[in-house]
């Protein structure tokens, strides 16, 4: 029996020899399952979970649940789990569960059967096999799915061809200006910041001017303050522009600089 595996030696320590429950107890070598710790990382990357690993072990490694000592499989799973705690914590519980399931199957198997025709529904092996088979179906399906021709991998689509938009009913989408004003008024009411009665008619022009000025300057370059004033706007317009600039300075939205008294005043976006 020189070819007997480590597993076999371990089996000797178990009180119920496998030979009794199975005709050929030593055919497969459990040491196939014994993966060196540095191979575990590879294993974890190549398996999608305990079912996948188990399928692999059954199909390729001749892993035999029956021949594997509970102690050994438990050891192995604990090894996985330890490694997984370093790599992918969330997987540990699922592998742990599988270890427990395997241990349960093994222990049930080792115990003498009470009833000859025990209830198959309760057989944990049947449930495990059902799950393995079900998983295998989808595993195969997923491979075929990946083989399907897929857009941007196996075939390509033309990009959307551009067209020039011809605007037809733009006005429809405008907001109701009257309503807008009423809404603003209501807002002011709510917040008790109603205007005093002596509000000037040009209320909006300074605000609008502030926006226009902000639009016309940038962060990078100072511009001559005078360029922001349009003489064509008349005295009234100039005052509005001036007030707008003062207000922007007050709100520290723009920077103002002057080399010396009466020299050119420069402004830029802050």
């Amino acid at each position: 029996m020189d070819t007997k595996s480590e597993g076999f030696k371990d089996l000797k320590n178990i009180s119920v020899p496998l030979a009794y429950v199975k005709g050929e107890p030593y055919l497969t070598a459990p040491k196939d399952l014994y993966l060196p710790p540095d191979a575990l990382e590879v294993v974890l990357e190549s398996f999608e979970g305990p079912l996948d690993l188990l399928l692999y072990l059954i199909k390729s490694q001749n892993f035999d649940i029956l021949e594997l000592p509970v102690a050994k499989i438990t050891d192995q799973y604990i090894q996985y789990i330890e490694l997984m705690q370093e790599l992918k914590l969330e997987l540990a519980a699922e592998y742990m569960l599988m270890a427990a399931t395997l241990a349960e199957i093994k222990s049930k198997f080792l115990l003498p059967q009470k009833n000859e025709g025990s209830d198959e529904e309760d057989d944990p092996r049947a449930e495990l096999i059902r799950r393995l088979q079900e998983y295998e179906r989808f595993k195969k399906a997923s491979v075929r799915l990946d083989d399907l021709k897929r857009v941007d991998r196996d075939f390509y689509l033309p990009s959307k061809v551009t067209y020039s938009k011809i605007k037809t009913e733009e006005k429809k989408e405008a907001v109701d200006l009257e309503k807008l004003v009423i809404i603003f008024h209501e807002l002011m009411e709510q917040t008790k910041i109603l205007k005093p009665h002596d509000i000037k008619k040009d209320y909006l022009s300074v605000r609008e001017k502030m926006t226009l000025i902000l639009n016309s300057i940038n962060k990078e370059n100072f511009v001559d303050f005078k360029t922001l004033l349009d003489l064509n706007e008349g005295k009234y317009g100039l005052i509005v522009s001036f007030l707008a600039i003062l207000e922007l300075i007050k709100l520290s939205l723009i920077d103002c600089a002057q080399a010396k008294q009466f020299s050119t005043i420069y402004v830029k976006l802050k």
Partner: protein, 211 residues
Amino acid sequence: MKETKCKKIIESLIFSSPNPISLKQIRDFFSNEDLSELSLQNIINEIQISYENSGVQLVKVSSGYRFQVSEDCNEWVSNFYPEKPQKYSRALMETLALIIYRQPITRTEIEAVRGVGVSSNIIKTLLEREWIKILGYKDAPGKPAIFGTTKEFLNSHNLVSLNQLPKLDDITEFSELEKRQLGLLDNEQLDSEQISADMVDSDEYNNENIH
């Protein structure tokens, strides 16, 4: 309207649309033009023929008609773009397979079959890709989302219907040796047929009838 003009317009509509266009959409659009279903189909056929030797083809997918790069040009187009197409993980493909063949399905149900948690990233990727969508929420603790596939999934795979997908394999019988290994064929000598039958019965998510 002349049929040639109509053809030009339909061509431009399909080319400029980000999504495939259905015959119904076209017919609705031309509702003032008295475009019969037959002449519309004729126009579509004509467009298809006129593009036969060109770099793009007019094809029909799940949600309608679209142009596609011609078969023999795909490789060239692919080489024109240096970046490699995204490769999806096995975990993602398995999740997708479950959603396809078992929809409507919740995340917990997917996890039950795969025996491992489904990462939120996978669901997110599939939702962003618009291959799956949330169909609703299950009336169960935590109101889990129920997932199903979309027309976009079909479009992305040149499919008109899920029926064109390969059928889910019948449950694989493990070989005698495998069964023995699993401890199925020992003292008890479980009848494998009995097991298979049980499996089908207990499978409440079985949707094979979609095929």
